[in-house]
């Protein structure tokens, strides 16, 4: 069992994660379609410039726009969710223990964060998880759409960090905790394409591929309808 979890299952988890996520992105491209170039026809008056080239003339300052956006409306949630997700994605790559393992196996490694910082980022993830849990329990609008499944997904996402924290500080029996940590990480990776965690690729699809007023970067290239 121990050998299976730290051996073949690691490969299975990474393959499921990579190919599953690629499949979900492929599905998005199949379900959406390229944006059309609309050309407005004005029946009279001066012919307009190419609508794609006409500069947007902002009537609001950037600060006013910010206040009206999701950042201004839900500042606490947006701050917490940003920190939580950044810490969740960045920490595993740069934590010292992971890089030591990589080095032992393949003689390659990424730069490592100072241990205290990695520990702090882990606490950020756990604290964010607690924030989401409390929000789900106490905010009426979140409770209204919450099911057992939502709590399960939150557990899947935070368990690798809780067990990682326990293992690093040698709380409880180290061998058991580290095995649970590996297993939890594998479960999380495999859950990404097939549970609500699929919002991981969809966050980027929404921000960089779909065309809407909040698209970043090049302005998007595809629409749902």
């Amino acid at each position: 069992m121990y050998n299976f979890i730290r051996g073949p299952l690691v490969w299975v988890a990474f393959l499921v994660f990579i190919f599953g996520t690629a499949y979900q992105v492929y599905r998005f491209y199949k379900l959406s379609r390229p944006k059309e170039r609309y050309r407005l026809r004005i029946p009279f008056g001066k012919p307009p410039k190419d609508p794609d080239e006409a500069p947007d003339e902002p009537t609001l300052t950037w600060w006013q726009q910010m206040r009206l956006s999701v950042v201004g409306v839900n500042p606490v949630m947006v701050s917490v969710t940003t920190l939580f997700h950044l810490a969740l994605v960045i920490t595993p790559f740069f934590v010292l223990g992971h890089n030591v393992l990589l080095d032992l196996a393949w003689q390659i490694s990424l730069p490592s964060l100072p241990e205290a910082l990695a520990d702090g980022l882990t606490i950020v993830v756990i604290a964010g998880g607690v924030f989401f849990l409390l929000r789900r329990i106490f905010l009426a609008r979140v409770r209204a759409i919450s099911t057992v499944y939502d709590y399960l997904v939150l557990l899947i996402a935070t368990t690798p960090f809780i067990t990682g924290f326990l293992a690093y500080h040698h709380f409880f029996d180290y061998d058991t905790v580290i095995l649970l940590h590996i297993l939890a990480g594998e479960i999380m990776l495999m859950a990404v394409p097939f549970t609500k965690l699929v919002h991981m690729p969809y966050f980027f699809i929404n921000r960089f591929v779909l065309v809407h007023e909040n698209t970043l970067g090049a302005g998007g290239s595809r629409t749902w309808r």
């Binding site: 999701v70 949630m77 609008r141 979140v142 609500k196 919002h199 966050f203 809407h212």
Partner: protein, 132 residues
């Protein structure tokens, strides 16, 4: 109330429309992280004292989401509830914001399609007139 109240629901027809949009519905239901960030983008949510039933995700999950999960096996009373959601709690202004890019208006529009196929729709003529 809508016309043709008593006729049985044609489940084959409901399932046919559901199947047409199956992949999109499934994807939207899966991508929705139940984060509730869409709530504040709905003006109806605000004018109804932040009643969670007016939150865009709540409307889509309880209309098309419900039809999809029950594979269309919803009786006429259930359809009346969906009519309430997709016509009275949503005007399809398409201003809702989803941080994960779900096209919520499209989901509501599909639910409306399914309702119309069963003669369930909003009738303006039966709207109560304000007292003079």
């Amino acid at each position: 109330m809508s016309s043709n109240d008593q006729a049985p629901i044609n489940q084959d027809e409901v399932r046919r429309i559901l199947d047409q949009h199956k992949d999109k519905t499934k994807t939207a239901l899966r991508v929705c992280a139940h984060c509730s960030l869409c709530a504040d983008s709905c003006f109806l949510y605000h004018v109804h004292d932040k009643d969670p039933r007016y939150m865009p995700s709540h409307k889509f999950i309880n209309s098309l989401g419900k039809l999809y999960k029950k594979k269309g096996k919803i009786d006429r009373a259930g359809f009346q509830e969906i009519e309430e959601i997709v016509w009275r709690r949503c005007v399809l202004c398409t201003r809702c914001y989803c941080p994960l890019g779900i096209d919520i208006p499209e989901m509501i529009a599909i639910a409306r399609d399914i309702c119309r196929s069963q003669e369930v729709f909003f009738q303006w003529s039966e709207l109560e007139q304000p007292a003079e």
